[in-house]
């Protein structure tokens, strides 16, 4: 495989959902979306937009949970449906997800160890029980948790921030190359958000993992990402470096999003609302 083959290549991907009413036209959730992430230059790509803009549909396509209705998604040069079994297993391990709600992802009946042990067993990553425990311990330490603090406990005994960090630790053990993080910090207290985001940045800088960061929070997108795509009704309306898109938004809709972020300054009020015409 040549170096030029991108890790992830989304080429004019569209997804449409059929309406139950057969006369209604299908709903276009994602419309000609193109994104490329190189193998050798890990980066954090933020996808921002309102609810219903197609952000989560995009996440499902990248995770291989949803096939594009049009266009192509290729991972390391291969389309998912053309992959042989070992390649597909590699894809499942190398592309990981972090979801919004750290409360519903855990099975309340098991101690959190379960969530950490299962992927190691499924992918046969540890040769012995001792190695398994060592891998779990080192992954937990990486995200700033001490194993004694969390292992053996049930999810309800841990805070949202701790749970989300356990999810990040679980991802790490699988040595992924790409993580799709769908609103990973929106349910975490503001004071702990910065910690989780700093860890996500460290994944890129220290482990060379690329991250697709899906969010409606422009402020955190500005802080962590290299590149920003603004989605509006399934279409990319603006993309570029975080600096260019958020500091100097060109599209009307981006300006609305950036202007709607409440600034922590009572004297710097919300700028006047200007909205693109509702279609």
């Amino acid at each position: 495989m040549s170096e030029a083959t991108p890790l992830l290549d989304l080429d004019r991907v569209s997804v449409s959902y059929k309406s139950r009413n057969f006369k209604a036209p299908p709903f276009l959730a994602l419309d000609g979306f193109t994104l490329r992430i190189a193998q050798d230059r890990p980066k954090i790509v933020a996808i921002v937009g309102e609810s219903g803009s197609g952000k989560t549909t995009l996440a499902r396509v990248v995770l291989g949970m949803l096939a594009p209705t049009q266009g192509q998604m290729r991972y390391a040069g291969q389309a998912l449906d053309a992959m042989a079994r070992p390649d597909r297993a590699a894809f499942r391990r190398e592309v990981q997800a972090i979801f919004q709600d750290p409360f519903s992802i855990f099975n309340p009946f098991y101690p959190v160890d379960h969530l950490l042990e299962m992927p190691l067993r499924i992918f046969r990553l540890a040769k012995s029980r001792a190695e398994e425990q060592a891998m779990i311990a080192s992954a937990l330490q990486r995200v700033g948790l001490t194993p004694g603090q969390v292992l053996g406990r049930h999810p309800h005994q841990l805070s949202g921030g701790q749970r989300q960090r356990i999810v990040v630790a679980r991802c790490l053990m699988l040595r992924p190359r790409l993580i799709v993080a769908d609103e990973p910090v929106s349910m975490i207290d503001a004071s702990l958000r910065a910690n989780v985001l700093a860890q996500i940045q460290a994944l890129r800088d220290e482990l060379g993992i690329s991250i697709i960061y899906i969010t409606h929070d422009i402020a955190t997108a500005r802080q962590v990402s290299d590149e920003v795509f603004v989605l509006h009704r399934g279409k990319t309306v603006e993309s570029g470096t975080a600096e260019a898109v958020i500091a100097r938004p060109q599209h009307e809709y981006t300006r609305l999003l950036v202007g709607s972020v409440p600034r922590p300054d009572p004297d710097h009020g919300w700028s006047d609302l200007t909205e693109p015409a509702q279609g």
């Binding site: 609810s51 805070s159 503001a190 702990l192 940045q201 709607s260 922590p264 004297d267």
Partner: protein, 325 residues
């Protein structure tokens, strides 16, 4: 100075679990004037929602009100019982609970739900008068009066949240308590909903208590901000002074941990985690995470003190208002 609309004094609400007592609100005192908007921020588990529920006596066992009073126009809300309590809720103090938009009755048209609230409190209103009030209230939250004929599933999240605001103000209460009114909405809708809430609150002259954890949203929404930590109000100040010169170290950290959309800064969270209410550290509950902790902080719990004229702070470090303000 006029008498405040609401005077909360030493409100203490505790949970008794397995024989251990945890105080989710511990000696909370504050004043709220008519038409004023107070924000209460804090981490999850700091007691914000417990405080709000206790003010309406909506708390449930194992929590109970241990001590304190809350005078609204001279009536102590915490002593109301039975029919008097039923009459007072909604008509005097109304609440927009957390996740309210998902608690709308799915098989009831919006207008019927709104009429229900009126029927429960106002006997003898003619149907015309009820219809007029519903239309007027929907209009004031920026919804078409035709929404009264729709079911909740026909509305978007933002519209449902507006319906919840309409329900809260339909009896023109003196105080509205909003618990995370926009937590599930995205920024554009959030802004419109908050602007609507502020507008209707001003229009009916009610006071507002807004609970949340988004400091940016608070800066845009309220007149005063109170910070809760492990059940106690650690700082309560007018919003401009709060953001210009936060005095409690926790307030300072909360402000500096905010990500900004306008510049890239090194991200700093607050180290450590909030202690369990059932196992609070001795002295100031914040001292294990406080960058400025002194030996005294480990031994003695700081009481809330009036600093200057309009601000209270509970911290050993803070004894007077900074001179340059």
């Amino acid at each position: 100075m006029t008498t405040p609309l609401l005077q909360v004094r030493d409100l203490t609400v505790s949970y008794l679990i397995n024989g251990t007592r945890g105080r989710a609100a511990d000696g909370v005192s504050f004043d709220l004037h008519a038409g004023e908007r107070l924000g209460i921020v804090g981490e999850s588990g700091s007691g914000k929602s417990t405080l709000a529920l206790a003010l309406m006596q909506l708390h449930k066992p194992p929590s109970h009100i241990e001590a304190g009073s809350a005078l609204l126009d001279g009536t102590d809300l915490l002593t109301l019982r039975g029919e008097a309590l039923r009459r007072f809720r909604w008509s005097q103090v109304s609440m927009i609970p957390q996740g309210a938009m998902n608690s709308l009755n799915p098989v009831m048209r919006i207008g019927v739900a709104m009429a229900d609230a009126i029927h429960a409190h106002e006997k003898g209103w003619k149907p015309d008068r009820i219809r007029a009030r519903i239309a007027e209230t929907l209009d004031s939250v920026g919804l078409d009066p035709g929404v009264a004929k729709l079911y909740p599933h026909e509305l978007s999240g933002g519209m449902k949240q507006r319906v919840c605001i309409a329900l809260a103000i339909i009896l023109k209460p003196k105080l509205i308590i909003a618990d995370e009114p926009t937590s599930a909405l995205d920024v554009v809708v959030q802004r419109r909903v908050i602007e609507t809430l502020k507008a209707v609150q001003k229009q009916i002259g009610a006071a507002l208590i807004m609970i949340g954890h988004d400091m940016g949203l608070m800066a845009q929404s309220v007149d005063r901000l109170a910070v809760m930590y492990a059940g106690r109000l650690v700082e309560n100040a007018p919003i401009r002074r709060f953001f210009r010169t936060p005095l409690h170290p926790y307030s300072q950290l909360l402000i500096s941990s905010l990500p900004s959309p306008d510049e890239v800064r090194e991200m700093k969270g607050i180290p450590g985690a909030q202690p369990s209410l059932f196992d609070l550290p001795k002295g100031c509950a914040f001292h294990p995470r406080c960058p400025a902790a002194m030996p005294q902080c480990r031994l003695e719990r700081p009481e809330s003190r009036l600093i200057g004229t309009e601000r209270t702070v509970a911290c050993h470090l803070v004894t007077k208002e900074p001179a340059h303000v």
